[in-house]
């Protein structure tokens, strides 16, 4: 009997997913474990494997469409087998169709869920509002068939042509006048470039020429094509939305302190010789966890009306991936030993790079660390992850001349900058918290006791 392929549940909060790509098509043979399709949730693109062996009989939810979790998206069985009746599983896809004209400016900003009543709820996850597809064609244009044919044949856009006919209808004479006004007759374009412009509806009058004597070449038309607005990936749209929301709603302020990493780096070398592998990030994460336990005000959230403290540290670590960033979360970081913290962080980072994180592993953080230490930066500020009170930006460690006991000495200095939500955290709290992290990182005895 034909087996239904169901949209898998990708985490607590995910109710529907978009199929961004089918890897097989109707009639393809599939084996157990073959990747059937890719889905995009609010957090990541994930691959879905087949549980069955057989032939992909019918795809019910096609590429670009969304389906509810648990819905049947396809059937696998033997060729010729009858398919059980199902109701249409697809729901309107929230992804934007590739924009053809200018990007739609009307995208509504998603509203965060209000969390007022139950402060115990973790982070107010933003709800993804369906992004309306930008209009694929401008509103109806009045143009005569002959005029339209001339527009198309000339590879120009009619949007800027003023119509002289009844109701502003564009007639052939208007197009000809427009062409003359733009000196179209002297336009030089290679035959293939023109064919491509006609096919892709590129206005050749807007193309910058690079060929000999100002001739428009295929490469020039291709460049114009690349300049067209394209819909961002769902991940980027989410990033855009969340970061804008954060900057707009929470008043950020920044506190920077310098951490002297010299002794800790020395000690790390000793550990390495004993074959104990810790990264600098591990020490920073641990120092942050310890500091958060001492400064509950920082491990908190607010919506501007209420503020609530989190008893656990769910530590987000910003990780850069292809075309975006994700924030995997180390849960109950305060309960982990340094070794466990290291293992968890390494595992999450590796899976983030491979795109194998589940949505649940990327939500619910109470504080985030963004580390650009390996990117050779002097100092930077981070934008608070929505729902959190603060974020720590960690910059590169560099050898610097500093004054110690009245002497100029060379030390390994790392700048850390705390971005805080001023609705929740005041300057003194932020300064104290930043300095607590600094003190911990500079205290080698502490690290000896933890390793």
């Amino acid at each position: 009997m034909a087996q239904p392929v169901l949209m898998p549940k990708m985490g607590q909060s995910v109710e529907e997913c978009v199929i961004v790509k089918w890897r097989c098509k109707d009639g393809d043979k599939v084996k157990k474990g073959d990747i059937l399709f890719e889905i995009e949730t609010e957090k990541a693109v994930l691959e879905v494997e087949s549980f069955y062996e057989g032939t992909l009989l019918k795809v019910l939810v096609s590429q670009g469409q969304a389906a509810h979790v648990g819905a049947t998206v396809a059937f696998i069985g033997q060729p010729g087998e009858p398919l059980p009746a199902v109701t249409a599983a697809a729901v309107p896809a929230p992804v934007a169709a590739p924009a053809v004209s200018a990007p739609a400016a009307s995208t509504p900003v998603a509203k965060p869920v209000t969390v007022a009543a139950t402060p115990a709820i973790s982070v107010p996850a933003p709800v993804m509002a369906p992004v309306p597809a930008p209009a694929t064609a401008p509103s109806r244009m009045f143009i005569s068939p002959r005029a339209r044919a001339l527009v198309e044949h000339s590879a120009i856009s009619a949007t800027r042509i003023k119509g002289s006919g009844p109701n502003g209808r564009i007639v052939e004479k208007d197009v000809q006048g427009y062409l003359d006004a733009h000196n179209y007759a002297s336009l030089r374009i290679s035959p293939a470039a023109k064919a491509l412009a006609i096919k892709e509806k590129i206005d050749v009058l807007s193309v910058t020429a690079s060929g000999d004597g100002g001739r428009i070449m295929v490469g020039d038309v291709e460049r114009s094509l690349k300049e067209r607005p394209k819909a961002m990936s769902k991940m980027r749209q989410i990033i855009a939305q969340r970061l804008t929301q954060s900057v707009v709603t929470s008043p950020h302020f920044f506190v920077t302190v310098e951490v002297d990493m010299t002794d800790l780096l020395e000690y790390r070398k000793e550990l390495k010789q004993k074959n104990l592998q810790y990264s600098v990030t591990d020490f920073i994460l641990e120092a942050v966890v310890l500091a958060l336990m001492e400064s509950p005000g920082v491990n908190s959230s607010t919506d501007g009306k209420s503020a609530w403290w989190h008893s656990s540290v769910h530590l987000g670590m910003a990780a850069s991936i292809a075309d975006g960033l994700v924030v995997p979360v180390i849960r109950h970081a305060e309960k982990l030993s340094l070794k466990e913290l290291h293992d968890t962080a390494a595992d999450l980072a590796a899976r983030a790079r491979d795109g194998k994180l589940m949505p649940d592993e990327m939500s619910g953080s109470t504080f985030t660390v963004s580390n650009m230490g390996m990117l050779n930066v002097e100092n930077f500020t981070a934008i608070i992850n929505p729902g959190e009170g603060a974020i720590l930006a960690v910059s590169s460690t560099n050898e610097k001349p500093v004054v110690r006991k009245g002497q100029i000495v060379v030390r390994s200095i790392m700048k850390i900058t705390l971005s805080s939500d001023h609705r929740l955290i005041d300057g003194a709290v932020a300064a104290r918290f930043a300095n607590t992290i600094k003190t911990k990182l500079e205290d080698v005895e502490l690290w000896k006791s933890l390793t």
Partner: protein, 463 residues
């Protein structure tokens, strides 16, 4: 210390045009050459080999004279005389290049150039005397040299192409290691003169960069000429004695009087002292340049074989002219990238732009159109009906992306196709362009018609 606006290192087909173009633009120019003007191309490459191939081609033609109704009697040739003729052609052309340099007031320094810093170059002559020069800009055109892998025995029966060209007597049998352009050209030339030739190529086929249809056609003809073409395995355990060379190809032991090594060419950079100007060569030893021919060191340009862009004399010439203009003029121009390739095998090969395989690898949807010389009046009249031409075009716009020819005068025919591809013509336009009848060039028009599905001189395509 003598001061120049431009110093060109190497007087090959890239270097001497660069020097002349710089001089035309009003610069004071020096050129440094350690051997002969004209470089590899003129002395031990293009011109030298084409002189010999003209002899072998003519010999092969005369052998077929009877089929044209011409009686010749018993045929024989004198390779030493062929070689002398080659030397005459080479020295005449070399004199021409030297004359042009002189006429353009380019100062020629004999010796090896090396950088002291970005503004200073030292020329070391054969006798060890050194001349210090100062310059505003430098164009490196030091070229390449045959690669001879270390596992090959050092023996007079083992030689690369340059030494082979010095021969005054051909061996009775020849083993060619490497089925690239040089290997295949020498194999065809020697086979036409009656040498028993075996070509061994490590890759799955000879001339892998050439369109698959074209190389299949060539391979068929080479084999018909009596050349053994062995591919897909390495030549191992190469030994050379006073009498013969031996090598192992799989289970078979190959023996011959001589081994020609043609496994590629390495850039010549060792004596330039590039470290003094902060230029780092690539993994393969080439000098990286940008679209304008600039190296990573400001005011130093590199062109030709030493850049690894295309090991073709005409590419070097075009780059040399552009680099000279960029060295002298403040407004920079990009180097032309569309480089046609010519291979003087029997039959000849010409190609430009993308092969069908390359276009597909780029994700393009292509249409191809092919027309064989067997259906062409002129080819039949000339008694040369081997080969074909082939267009590769973008399926949606009809843009001609590549052209490939194999057959009589393919290396001449490719120039029309090059102009068409560069001008971004479509198959339709090329097909509407009137071509002279009866000529070999007509094949381009016919092949364009074939691509569009309305070829007059071919039966309708089977569905």
């Amino acid at each position: 210390m003598e001061k120049f606006d431009v110093i060109v290192i190497g007087a090959g087909p890239g270097g001497y045009p660069a020097a002349i173009r710089s001089a035309q633009l009003g610069a004071s120019v020096a050129i440094v050459e350690k051997e002969y003007a004209g470089g590899t191309c003129l002395n031990w490459g293009c011109i030298a080999t084409k002189s010999l191939i003209a002899c072998s081609d003519l010999f092969a033609h005369i052998k077929r004279a009877q089929s044209f109704g011409i009686e010749t009697g018993k045929l024989s040739y004198d390779y030493a005389a062929m070689s002398r003729r080659k030397n005459d052609v080479v020295s005449k052309l070399r004199g021409g290049v030297e004359g042009l340099l002189k006429a353009n007031k380019v100062t020629v320094f004999k010796g090896t150039a090396s950088f002291v810093d970005r503004q200073h170059v030292t020329v070391t002559a054969a006798d060890g005397t050194q001349t210090a020069l100062e310059t505003k800009a430098t164009i490196i055109a030091s070229g390449s040299t045959s690669a001879v892998p270390g596992f090959l025995p050092k023996n007079e029966r083992v030689m690369e192409s340059r030494a082979f060209l010095e021969l005054t007597k051909l061996p009775a049998s020849l083993l060619v290691l490497g089925g690239g352009v040089i290997g295949c050209e020498f194999a065809c030339m020697a086979a036409q003169l009656g040498v028993k030739v075996t070509v061994v190529e490590l890759l799955s086929d000879i001339l892998m960069m050439v369109d698959a249809d074209v190389r299949n056609e060539l391979r068929r003809h080479m084999e018909a000429m009596g050349i053994r073409v062995l591919t897909g395995k390495a030549l191992e355990k190469v030994e050379a004695t006073a009498k013969e060379v031996k090598g192992q190809f799989g289970d078979e032991t190959l023996t011959a009087d001589m081994l020609l090594v043609s496994v590629g060419r390495r850039p010549v950079t060792a004596e330039l002292k590039l470290e003094n100007v902060g230029i780092a060569v690539s993994k393969a030893g080439f000098i990286p340049v940008d679209d304008f021919g600039r190296t990573t060191a400001a005011s130093i340009f590199a062109i030709g074989d030493v850049t690894g862009i295309a090991q073709l004399a005409h590419a070097a010439t075009s780059q040399g002219v552009t680099a000279a203009e960029n060295a002298v003029n403040p407004k920079k121009r990009k180097m032309d990238k569309l480089v046609p390739a010519c291979i003087f095998t029997s039959p000849e090969i010409g190609s430009v732009g993308l092969t069908e395989q390359q276009a597909k690898e780029k994700g393009l949807t292509v249409k191809t159109g092919k027309f064989g010389f067997a259906h062409l009046g002129k080819a039949m009249a000339a008694g040369e009906t081997n080969g074909f031409v082939k267009w590769v075009a973008d399926a949606s716009t009809g843009q001609l992306l590549g052209a490939h020819a194999v057959g009589l005068h393919a290396t001449e025919l490719i120039s029309e196709a090059t102009a068409a591809v560069r001008a971004e013509l479509t198959a339709e336009e090329l097909g509407r362009t009137i071509h002279c009848h009866p000529t070999l060039s007509e094949t381009w028009m016919e092949a364009a018609h074939a691509l569009l599905g309305h070829c007059i001189h071919a039966p309708p395509a089977r569905r």
